[in-house]
């Protein structure tokens, strides 16, 4: 639908999950550090999907690392237009790498859901993860995203019981994001037995790929999860590198991403 973006969004995401190895999903907050250079480093290191955080003043589901990244980004004056420009420029540089936006409802619906869906589509965004729009409030953004051909990526959690799971899966596209711990980002890791049991429970309810995130920091953890899931999401560990290394972050990001990707490829 877009001249500069011939590939359909669903194709990019499904290609990423059709590779012989589980997908490595890498998160960074837009506007924190030199985001373009940092994203390129993630791709060079072997990231299969890029998850770009939209900064928000009140990131209620995030731990200290990503909270600070939000504060740094907003402190530099990052706007929604900046986030969309970062996405569009990434799309121009990497026509094949899927890009999903992650964030909170209010910045997404501020100008209306149609506006956001259309702007995100124009920027070459493939999917949207909105933390605080559960299936019960899907009307707030879901219909507009689906109409624009953008995958609404839902979250499932350890508290999502079997009765609820069908509602979570219904209308979810691209992949399902399994939040491994009941808690906030960047804190403790869940036991692999619990992750394995929950991923297989979710996979009984849906055919779409299941990626696992929250508390995944090291190649060892990523490799362990890659044996039981379709994808592994790493966020806070990468954001920490941006905080620590500033303009030197790309080399560090590439290094960590490469070791994460290596562990995932070796997993099965």
């Amino acid at each position: 639908m877009n001249e500069t973006d011939p590939m359909s969004t669903s194709t990019r995401l499904s290609n990423a999950f059709a590779k012989p190895h589980p997908a490595l999903v890498c998160f960074l907050t837009a506007g924190d550090g030199d985001t373009a250079a940092n994203l390129d480093a993630l791709v060079a290191g072997g990231a299969d999907v890029i998850e770009l955080g939209m900064p928000f003043t009140d990131p209620m589901a995030d731990g200290p690392a990503i909270q600070q990244a939000n504060i740094r980004s907003l402190g530099k004056g990052t706007t929604t237009a900046d986030v969309l420009r970062i996405a569009a420029e990434f799309r121009a540089r990497h026509p094949d790498v899927p890009l999903v936006l992650m964030g909170y409802a209010n910045p997404m619906i501020r100008r209306g859901p149609e506006w956001f869906a259309s702007a995100a589509k124009g920027a070459g965004v493939d999917g949207v993860i909105c933390v605080d729009i559960p299936p019960e409030e899907d009307d707030a953004l879901g219909p507009e995203l689906r109409a624009a051909g953008i995958a609404p990526i839902r979250l499932a959690t350890p508290t999502t019981d079997d009765k609820r799971l069908p509602a979570v899966v219904e209308g979810s596209q691209g992949f399902l994001y399994y939040v491994a711990v009941a808690g906030i980002t960047g804190m403790q890791q869940a036991a692999i037995e619990s992750i394995e049991a929950n991923v297989s429970r979710i996979k009984r309810a849906t055919d779409i790929p299941v990626a696992v995130g929250f508390g995944v920091r090291t190649p060892e953890q990523a490799g362990e999860i890659a044996r039981v899931a379709d994808g592994v999401v790493v966020g806070s560990a990468l954001v920490d590198l941006v905080a620590e290394h500033g303009t030197d972050a790309p080399a560090k990001l590439r290094e960590l991403t490469a070791s994460l990707a290596g562990a995932i490829r070796a997993a099965r």
Binding site: F56, T57, D58, P59, M60, A61, G63, Q67, I71, L74, T79, T80, Y104, A105, N106, P107, M108, I109, R110, V131, D132, I133, P134, E136, E137, A140, R154, L155, A156, T157, P158, T159, T160, D161, R164, V168, V179, V181, A182, G183, I184, M187
Partner: protein, 411 residues
């Protein structure tokens, strides 16, 4: 009229049958929470429905309100204030005489009874002025449950007497430094704690906001204010008041007073937001008059925010009104036109505070001082036989240091 014509909960002409079964007040309200919390808020709703249908729950609630909180609170005719204003009769619902000194305790009693029904063993809460924190710490002590209170670091500083009260009551106080360290940031930390401790923790939200069913159940627990006032007005003057006035931060004391009167067409209502240094600038906390609809802390409502949807910080001399959002039912009542909303500045509230001290011998909290300031503005233009009922929702002991500082007095 046949049975098919029965107009009860679905009466379209009623302002008292919100929210709908998805927790929506028109376009507002809802359950905008992370998936981890969703099963929990659904369970809370089921448990609340059961409690509503359980006479034993109601009996225990009423019993605690009477013998522990000290209800019913008096209805008081403020004759000297009336005379000073030179217009309508001014009456006060004296919720500042409740145990713990504010209306907040009504809600805390209801919620801790729910928490116990649900088998939860740990209580968390956020607090701004500290009144809700004190009320929560109080009911936790009363029922022997551990209590963690999140409070913005800035509020810890300006409300130190309440911080000490909470500690005396056995609560753990966690000063929140993220953001600007005020009520909004404390609520974020409360939600982060809850999401990590869903298995044993009950979050006692202090105002009629947050994900459904909180706005509804907080309103219901606070509606004891309006139900009593309605009966007391009938008993004392044989009719209902012409105008209800209440201050609004999140809006629970106002809804508690207003809700039982919403279907009385002759009773007008005025909600009073905090205009801080004035609505012209950014230094206010008037979400309805100076904000736009959006989503924060689990509900859709009017918010102070910029054009990108970033939440801006409220300002008010009153820590209890210093919140960038408002309960979703107020958003709906505003759009429907049933309730009128206005705002008064820090300075006007401070004047009203002193006026009440001198005319009635009552030291009000800075929150209801906003309501009193609005009363002072409208009373003089109303006939002398008309009746204004304002909610005196908290007492001012906690605020004397703030007031002294503003008046340039060293104590």
């Amino acid at each position: 009229m046949g049975m098919g014509m029965a107009m009860t909960e679905t009466n379209p002409n009623s302002f008292r049958n919100q929210p709908d079964d998805r927790g929506h007040f028109g376009d507002y309200g809802g359950r905008y929470v992370a998936e981890t919390l969703m099963p929990l808020v659904l369970e809370l709703e089921r448990e609340y429905r059961k409690a509503q249908a359980d006479p034993e729950f109601q009996r225990e609630f009423d019993d605690l309100l009477e013998h522990y909180v000290g209800r019913p609170s008096p209805l008081y005719h403020a004759e000297r204030l009336t005379e000073a204003l030179g217009g309508a009769q001014v009456w006060f619902k004296r919720d500042e005489l409740n145990h713990t000194g504010a209306h907040k305790i009504n809600n805390c009693i209801g919620q801790i009874l729910l928490a116990i029904r649900m088998g939860k063993t740990r209580i968390i809460a956020e607090t701004g002025a500290g009144q809700h924190g004190v009320a929560t710490a109080t009911v936790c002590a009363r029922f022997g449950l551990p209590c963690v209170i999140y409070m913005g670091a800035e509020d810890v500083r300006r409300q130190s007497p309440n911080v000490f009260r909470m500690k005396l009551l056995g609560a753990e106080i966690v000063p929140v430094t993220s953001g600007r360290g005020t009520l909004k940031d404390a609520m974020n930390e409360g939600l982060r704690d809850w999401v990590a401790n869903v298995h044993d923790t009950f979050y006692i939200i202090g105002t009629a906001a947050g994900p459904h069913p909180y706005p509804e159940l907080v309103r219901d627990f606070q509606s004891v204010i309006g139900r009593e006032a309605r009966q007391q007005m009938q008993d004392r003057i044989g009719r209902l008041p012409d105008l209800l006035v209440a201050a609004i931060g999140g809006g629970s004391n106002a809804l508690g007073l207003f809700h039982p009167f919403l279907d009385d067409p002759d009773v007008k209502m005025l909600g009073v937001e905090a205009a801080g240094h004035g609505l012209d600038g950014d230094e206010h906390a008037a979400s309805l008059l100076g904000g736009f609809p959006g989503v924060l802390h689990g509900n859709k409502t009017y918010l102070l925010q910029d054009e990108d949807g970033q939440i801006t910080e409220g300002h008010s001399i009153s820590a209890g009104l210093d919140y960038p959002g408002i309960g979703p039912e107020h958003a709906w009542l505003k759009d429907s036109g049933r309730v009128e909303y206005t705002a008064v500045t820090d300075e006007e509230a401070l004047e009203a505070f002193q006026l009440l001290c001198r005319t009635e011998g009552i030291i009000p909290a800075l929150e209801p001082s906003h309501a009193i300031a609005a009363v002072a503005k409208v009373a003089k233009d109303m006939p002398k036989d008309s009746v204004i009922l304002a909610n005196l929702c908290g007492r001012g002991d906690k605020d004397i240091f703030t007031v002294a500082e503003k008046l340039g007095v060293e104590i």
